[in-house]
């Protein structure tokens, strides 16, 4: 299937993770209008190309992270390498 590059565990089978969908900035619930809030909840970019998306490493480190994937080819852009962060650089 798909090997997802978890920034903490390294590449893991997609079935170890759970897909949380497109990653968008959340509007401020205190000031957002009902329409803005619903647009955040329901509307999707759904491109056939690069997409920023959230994954949850369900069977591994149990952390959420954002990755960039091409939805036409399923290739990941700049896949994170576990441990690289410890060196100070992301």
């Amino acid at each position: 299937m798909l090997l997802v590059p978890c920034p903490h565990c390294g590449p893991r089978n997609a079935s170890d993770l759970s897909y949380k969908g497109e990653s968008h900035a959340r509007p401020d619930p205190n000031s957002a209008t009902a329409e803005e809030w619903r647009s955040y909840l329901y509307m999707e970019d759904n491109p056939a190309g690069w997409l920023r998306e959230t994954w949850y490493c369900r069977s591994g480190c149990r952390r959420f992270f954002v990755l960039e994937r091409d939805t036409a080819t399923n290739e990941f852009r700049n896949p994170p390498v576990p441990g690289a962060k410890l060196g100070g650089k992301a």
Binding site: M1, L2, N13, A14, S15, S18, Y19, G21, E22, A34, E35, R38, S39, L41, Y42, M43, E44, D45, N46, P47, A48, L51, E53, T71, A72, T73, N74
Partner: protein
């Protein structure tokens, strides 16, 4: 008057009368003379303008064109498809039809579709192989059983034949199912819907295509829409809200048209983006698989939501399996081993007896999933740009009613009552039509 015509006369239908096309005698004559059958629909050059351009030649686009011509006399219509007719979900689905949905809006809508399917063989003069074999949704948990009761009550109120049955009755209907208490998720009961069944999906596509062609509609295959032409919208490029459609740009040149209909299912977002209209849709593949043929032993369609699997047996004897959509968004239709492994495990929980059967094939098609598992139909903020999308994993059964209602919407410029609940604006007003409980696996 032929038997066929007298039969037609007795059923309500809206098509012109045609003699049967294919017969055993015809086959014999053609065989002896070594002739081939004539082309079923015309292949004509693309014109520069039409009254209506429909993007997408699946069952929805074709049905919309057919009803525009048959019910409203609008025949200057072109369907453009980037591939061949039925190349999308319409040629890849598992052909299940039913109307036992969860919301009253959904039930009324899908019931009208079944009605149209019932007279389709006569209306379109094609054998669609409708097998009204019954549809059974198994419950393995108390909460699933509760949803079944809920659905049965909603259905009965609208005169849909639908009821909850116990494991003994399940066993009687489908003896191959393991109804003992041994499995990890024992069968506690089922929602049984006798009018559900299967229909040959290719025949539906070809039937609508041929009938629409007879009425003057043009079908253009390998004609890809590259842009939607919009003027006067509030976007920087003149697209979007407040604008109006003037035509489409294709790989074979520009076509002008005051009305453009988006019937592209899994690709719906890409087309509506071209008009500046945002949709609540994510594209996910749905996979299916088929086994080698064996003698007929499974008389109904069996669905298990908890086990994420459904199965029916074709007239040839193959078992057709489906599941829920793949776990992440993608436009790629590659199959996966995970799907097959998971499917096999779950199917064997239900029917341990088939463990030696071999899978012949698996495939995938793109599904346009919405947050509430209901479609998006009708007007958009761009004048003249219509949507008939959001068909997810359940759009085959909805083909006829969608075509009929979309045609009415376009011809009368008013939203028909039956599709009013499915308007795009429900996502800004929050009036969702939640069908997940009846549509997530049961297709």
């Amino acid at each position: 008057m032929t038997l066929f015509q007298s039969l037609r006369g007795s059923m309500k239908s809206n098509a012109v009368s045609r003699p049967p096309r294919y017969s055993a005698a015809g086959l014999l004559v053609k065989g002896v003379k070594q002739e081939s059958w004539p082309r079923v629909w015309r292949d004509v050059p693309l014109k520069k303008s039409y009254d209506v351009v429909i993007v997408g030649g699946g069952v929805h686009g074709l049905a919309t064109a057919y009803y525009l011509a048959a019910n409203h006399g609008i025949t200057n219509v072109a369907i453009v498809d980037k591939s061949y007719l039925g190349s999308g979900g319409s040629g890849r689905n598992t052909a299940i039809v039913r109307s036992n949905y969860l919301t009253p809006e959904g039930v009324a809508f899908y019931d009208r579709s079944l009605e149209l399917y019932n007279s389709m063989a006569v209306d379109l003069n094609i054998n669609v192989m409708f097998s009204e074999r019954g549809h059974m949704t198994l419950a393995h948990t108390d909460s699933a059983l509760r949803t079944m009761h809920w659905r049965a009550e909603v259905n009965k109120l609208q005169n849909i034949d639908s009821s909850v049955i116990d494991p003994a009755e399940v066993k009687k209907l489908a003896p191959s199912l393991d109804t003992s208490s041994d499995p990890r998720y024992p069968i506690l009961g089922a929602l049984y819907h006798p009018p559900g069944g299967t229909i040959r999906h290719d025949a539906v596509v070809w039937g609508y295509a041929r009938a629409a062609d007879h009425l003057g509609v043009e079908m253009h295959q390998k004609a890809e829409v590259l842009d939607i032409l919009v003027e006067g919208g509030d976007g920087p490029d003149g697209k979007g809200s407040g604008g109006r459609v003037t035509g489409v740009r294709t790989n074979r040149g520009d076509i002008s048209a005051p009305i453009v209909v988006n019937c592209t299912a899994g690709w719906a977002t890409l087309i509506s983006d071209m008009a500046g209209v945002k949709l609540p849709i994510s594209t996910r593949p749905l996979q299916a698989a088929v086994t080698e043929p064996v003698k007929v032993f499974l008389p109904t369609v069996v669905v298990s939501g908890s086990l994420h699997v459904y199965v029916s047996q074709t007239d040839r004897g193959e078992l057709v399996f489906g599941a829920s959509v793949d776990p992440f968004n993608t436009y790629s239709v590659r199959g996966s081993l995970e799907f097959t492994e998971e499917l096999a495990g779950h199917v064997l929980e239900l029917m341990p007896g088939i463990s030696r059967m071999r899978l012949l094939r698996q495939w995938a098609g793109l599904c346009d999933m919405t947050p509430d598992y209901s479609p998006v139909m009708g007007f958009t903020p761009v004048e003249g740009f219509f949507c008939d999308v959001g068909w997810g994993t359940y759009g085959f059964k909805a083909g006829p009613v969608s075509g009929e209602q979309m045609a009415e919407c376009i011809a009368t410029q008013q939203t028909p009552k039956l599709i009013e609940p499915f308007k795009l604006s429900r996502f800004s007003t929050g009036e969702l039509v939640g069908e997940k409980g009846a549509a997530a696996v049961g297709h």
